[in-house]
């Protein structure tokens, strides 16, 4: 889940709504798609900008931990697959910024807010990729968690966001399979490789559970986002689904999930599991995670070092346009 703790605003009880707001909510309740030129409440627009923007930023920052291993990928085939995957992430960023632009905010404005620390990206990308097995774990667990959230978002109420999600989900499922394929090779490899695979699972398990965000069953923001169908499931529902899906996959790999409290609960038809350390989650969100400083530095540097390129190409385009007009 690449959007965490998105605050929604402007939620109202039905009897406080204006006739326009009521008609809007009725459209959503009937399952209609909202399109860019349709009337929408200001709160709906702002909440979506926050959520889509955070999602886009996550795709862009998410290039970094995986990009960290492109130059060290162990075979030509693995290198090509990883490059293609990271390229997909940049492409997802592009669709999502484009979806956000239909709500009246430019990509540059959103980037400016990210670089100024006014917008977030997913907490998961502040964890380091220390071994090649981490690339497997990121694909398997991180993309696996993202898919949990993004599959239902294909039915989200905002048309451009829902359509971007359809394409993104297709690619993400390929990403998850490539991650699992790396884990399988490692788990069945030499003792060193198996140890790397277990270590990667140990380090990425709880940060992956954190991706869904803290429990939001009592959150007013989540209730409003769900009423608007910007959010489809609660964080706890998605986390449970993720755990239930992942446990047998880990077993198949012969790896152990680092949770002594993990047990099948027949009554609820799902696993009981331990919560991650939420104080760590809040520290990471505040910017104190293992790689927050490095990730932001890398993005700021790319933006600042790239300024002359963007300006140069704009200046050239303007010269061309002027020459064309003079003809």
């Amino acid at each position: 889940m690449y959007a965490q703790m998105v605050t929604s605003e402007g939620g109202k009880a039905r009897d406080e709504m204006t006739p326009e707001e009521r008609a809007f909510q009725d459209r959503i309740d009937r399952g209609e798609r909202i399109e860019p030129k349709d009337w929408m409440p200001e709160g709906y627009r702002k909440t979506l900008i926050r959520q889509i923007g955070q999602h886009a930023h996550s795709e862009v920052v998410g290039q970094l931990p995986e990009g960290n291993w492109i130059t060290r990928a162990p075979t030509l085939e693995r290198k090509q697959i990883l490059l293609a995957k990271v390229q997909d992430e940049a492409g997802h960023g592009l669709y999502l910024y484009s979806a956000a632009e239909t709500l009246g905010v430019s990509r540059d404005e959103l980037t400016g807010m990210l670089l100024a620390g006014k917008m977030k990206y997913s907490s998961i990308f502040n964890y380091p990729t220390l071994t090649w097995a981490d690339i497997g774990a990121v694909g398997w667990l991180v993309d696996g968690a993202a898919i949990m959230n993004q599959v239902p978002l294909q039915r989200t109420s905002y048309g451009p966001y829902a359509r971007a999600m359809v394409r993104i989900c297709k690619e993400e499922s390929f990403h998850q399979r490539q991650g699992y394929s790396i884990m399988m090779t490692m788990a069945r490899g030499t003792p060193d490789q198996k140890a790397m695979a277990q270590d990667a699972l140990n380090r990425f398990w709880y940060p992956s559970l954190m991706m869904f965000g803290p429990s939001d069953k009592d959150s007013v923001h989540s209730a409003q986002s769900m009423a608007w169908k910007i959010k489809i499931n609660t964080n706890d529902e998605l986390r449970q689904k993720f755990v239930d899906q992942t446990v047998p996959q880990a077993r198949f790999l012969g790896l152990e999930i680092p949770d002594p409290g993990l047990a099948w609960n027949e009554e609820k038809g799902g696993h009981d599991f331990s919560q991650p350390d939420w104080s760590e989650f809040y520290e990471v969100l505040k910017g104190n995670g293992p790689c927050n400083a490095e990730r932001m530095e890398a993005r700021i540097e790319a933006w600042e070092d790239g300024a002359w390129v963007r300006e140069g190409l704009m200046a050239h385009a303007e010269k061309r346009a002027a020459a064309h007009a003079a003809e």
Binding site: T71, L76, E77, L83, W132, D305, G306, L313
Partner: protein, 260 residues
């Protein structure tokens, strides 16, 4: 063209060496371009750079795969890529030059693409059908690489004073490496003789015409320095290649018994 060798190089050795030369250049430049991942000036450039890197590494996989097959010593493309030391690499020195800034990256790409397109056109009519087949596939990709790098060289050369100055500095820096692709040795002569690959010197007029036209449109000045740097063909590289390989080959070297 250099004098033909007195003793004939075995045909397979000529083919193997020719494949390493074209394959290693694609691999090393692809690796360099992949270093940009996540750090490009725009998201579109992140995507385009990854695309170029992917194409080049894909081509390297095909060239080195065929080289390993010709060699018949039980190696595969990965063994050639990850288990040779710098002295065994046959890439052009231009391909291994570090990225530095975006100007050097773009200029390196353009100078390389302009050669690569000519080279592949020659390889596409190789007497060896396996070579011709790989070249024909690569040609389509490289036509796009060249279109993109040309557009960027022109846009940035004729952009702002800063972008112009950076592109001019990049051109000056890389210019000494642009003679090497066209100076063949005995192996190249034998490959040309057998119709496996084009004569390197024959590619130069087409390259020069293209480069001069694009640089003129980019308002850049051709450096008057000598295009004298070479060594790639005989495995004498710059210091930077050793570091690149140390990074690229790390896992295969550290865990020689592992399969990935």
């Amino acid at each position: 063209m250099p004098a033909l060798p007195e003793t004939t190089i075995p045909a397979d050795a000529v083919l193997f060496e020719t494949l390493l030369r074209v394959g290693d250049s694609a691999l090393i430049l692809g690796h360099r371009v992949s270093e940009w991942c996540g750090h490009a000036p725009t998201l579109e450039e992140d995507i385009a750079l990854a695309n170029v890197a992917l194409d080049l590494i894909g081509q390297a996989t095909l060239w080195l795969g065929l080289a390993a097959e010709i060699e018949g010593a039980g190696r595969d493309a990965d063994a050639l890529a990850f288990r040779r030391d710098a002295g065994g690499f046959r890439n052009l020195l231009l391909a291994e030059q570090p990225n530095r800034d975006f100007a050097v990256t773009v200029m390196r790409q353009f100078l390389f693409d302009a050669w690569h397109a000519e080279m592949l056109a020659g390889l596409a009519v190789s007497t060896d059908p396996r070579v011709a087949e790989i070249a024909a596939k690569a040609q389509k990709e490289v036509a796009y690489h060249l279109e993109r790098s040309e557009t960027l060289v022109i846009g940035l050369g004729d952009g702002t004073p800063e972008s112009h100055a950076r592109m001019q500095a990049a051109l000056t820096r890389l210019w000494p490496f642009t003679g090497e692709p066209f100076r063949g040795d005995a192996t190249d002569a034998a490959a040309a003789e057998a119709g496996i690959a084009p004569d390197p010197a024959a590619l130069e007029p087409g390259w020069s015409a293209r480069v001069e036209a694009v640089l003129a449109e980019a308002t850049l000045t051709l450096p008057d320095t000598a295009r004298f740097r070479s060594g790639g063909r005989s495995g004498v590289h710059g210091e930077a290649l050793g570091l690149l390989l140390a990074e690229m080959q790390f896992l295969q070297r550290a865990y020689p018994d592992a399969r990935w």
